[in-house]
């Protein structure tokens, strides 16, 4: 569910829904799908959409550089907050 919402946002925002395939494990940065501003836009999206606060030290590729990584990160954050 979280993954679907993240994927929908990325597809709409960065790919104009043009790409029928966006691999859930592909690096968003290395594949040039998003740039640094794009990552910050994703951060704003997950902060607003899932009501979480992303700290500076959490801005890492491990947390944010693929759809699956973002979804896992959000799940962990929501789990921590609950």
């Amino acid at each position: 569910m979280i993954r679907d919402e993240v994927k929908k946002f990325i597809l709409e925002k960065f790919l104009f829904n043009c790409s029928d395939r966006l691999d859930n494990d592909a690096s968003l940065i290395e594949t040039n799908t998003v740039d640094s501003v794009g990552i910050l836009e994703i951060v704003s999206f997950i902060e607003n959409n899932f009501k979480i606060k992303v700290e500076d030290e959490e801005l890492t590729a491990e947390n944010l550089d693929s759809i699956n990584k973002i979804a896992s990160f959000v799940e962990r954050k929501l789990g921590t907050q609950a």
């Binding site: 290395e30 740039d35 640094s36 910050l40 500076d56 801005l59 890492t60 590729a61 944010l64 550089d65």
Partner: protein, 328 residues
């Protein structure tokens, strides 16, 4: 050549320029470009008091004659206090005509200052007149190939407040800041039209290679005589061309934001000498380990910088593209 370079250990000698030869080559290029290809009668150079624009103006003065070069001095109220003084010094030392246009009223007309204040206050409400601000970029790390930015403000008492910029505010600040470079370029083209001159671009190699410029702002120009040169080489040319010491010994500064900020602070947090070395190494395929040894950085950091340079080049490629047209 490439294969040989693969085998080379990096030394700063690789960035040493034969200044006499390069000056002859570049002045010939400028004369040919301005007179024959562009069919213009002189050159306009926006002079900031930094080394890049000063060397560009000096090359134009040698190529075309000082009387055929117009230097535009375009500070605004947030510019460093030395900016105008140093750019006047360059103009005087080269014997070229200069025109001083204060950008402040133009930027006021664009609502630049009020909008910027509003944007900063949304993030740091206590910010008010008399405070200074800048944008500071995060360092790059192995676990993060992207950059994020902080808004840093300083109160008149020297207190520093720092907050991470959300995407929307970052975009707003970039869009507003770009008014400065675009207004400067608009004035350069105004005077170019007025005197039938060409506009000299002042980008260096790092800026043109990495897209570190504003499209239709400082990235614009009719000819770009130093866009192939490393910063260290531009400093060498500056000394060879007898520019004032105040220019050739001044450290680079972006001079974009009111709170002072070195250009090296904006780009990998490296001094320009090491940045030049890494750019040279990355472009010429020099091994990471040899580069790391030569410039005194850890191999992991050099490897990361190589990756970032390649990544930024690709990510910012669009900045250098002409408009795209549909196929016929």
């Amino acid at each position: 050549m490439r294969n040989n370079e693969y085998m080379k250990e990096f030394t700063y000698d690789l960035l040493k320029l034969d200044c006499e030869r390069e000056t002859a080559r570049l002045t010939a290029f400028i004369s040919e470009a301005v007179a024959r290809r562009l069919r213009k009668q002189g050159a306009v150079v926006g002079i900031s008091g930094g080394i890049d624009s000063s060397v560009t103006a000096a090359l134009c003065a040698r190529a075309l004659g000082p009387e055929k070069v117009l230097g535009l001095l375009m500070p605004e109220k947030d510019s460093h206090p030395d900016t105008l003084k140093l750019s006047q010094l360059v103009g005087e030392s080269l014997g070229i005509k200069t025109i001083h246009r204060d950008l402040t009223p133009v930027l006021n007309g664009l609502d630049f200052y009020d909008e910027m204040t509003g944007c900063i206050q949304q993030i740091i409400p206590e910010y008010s007149s008399g405070w200074k601000w800048k944008i500071s970029a995060s360092d790059i790390r192995n676990d993060r190939l992207f950059t994020f930015f902080w808004l840093v403000v300083q109160s008149p008492q020297g207190e520093i407040v720092k907050k991470r910029l959300p995407a929307d505010s970052l975009l707003q600040i970039i869009a507003l800041s770009n008014f400065k470079q675009r207004t400067r370029k608009m004035l350069e083209y105004h005077y170019a039209d007025r005197f039938n001159y060409a506009v000299a671009g002042t980008s260096n190699l790092l800026e043109s290679d990495q897209g570190f410029f504003v499209k239709l702002g400082d990235g614009a120009g009719d000819f770009k005589p130093i866009a192939h040169l490393f910063k260290t080489q531009i400093y060498q040319l500056g000394k060879y061309l007898d520019l004032p010491q105040a220019i050739t010994e001044r450290q680079p500064t972006a001079d974009i934001h009111p709170l002072s900020q070195g250009q090296d602070e904006f780009f990998f947090g490296l001094p320009y000498e090491q940045l030049d070395a890494c750019l040279y190494g990355e472009k010429n395929g020099l091994p990471v380990e040899s580069m790391a040894r030569a410039i005194g950085l850890e191999a992991g950091r050099v490897s990361l910088i190589y990756r970032q340079l390649a990544h930024r080049r690709l990510a910012n490629e669009y900045l250098g593209l002409p408009p795209l047209y549909p196929e016929k």
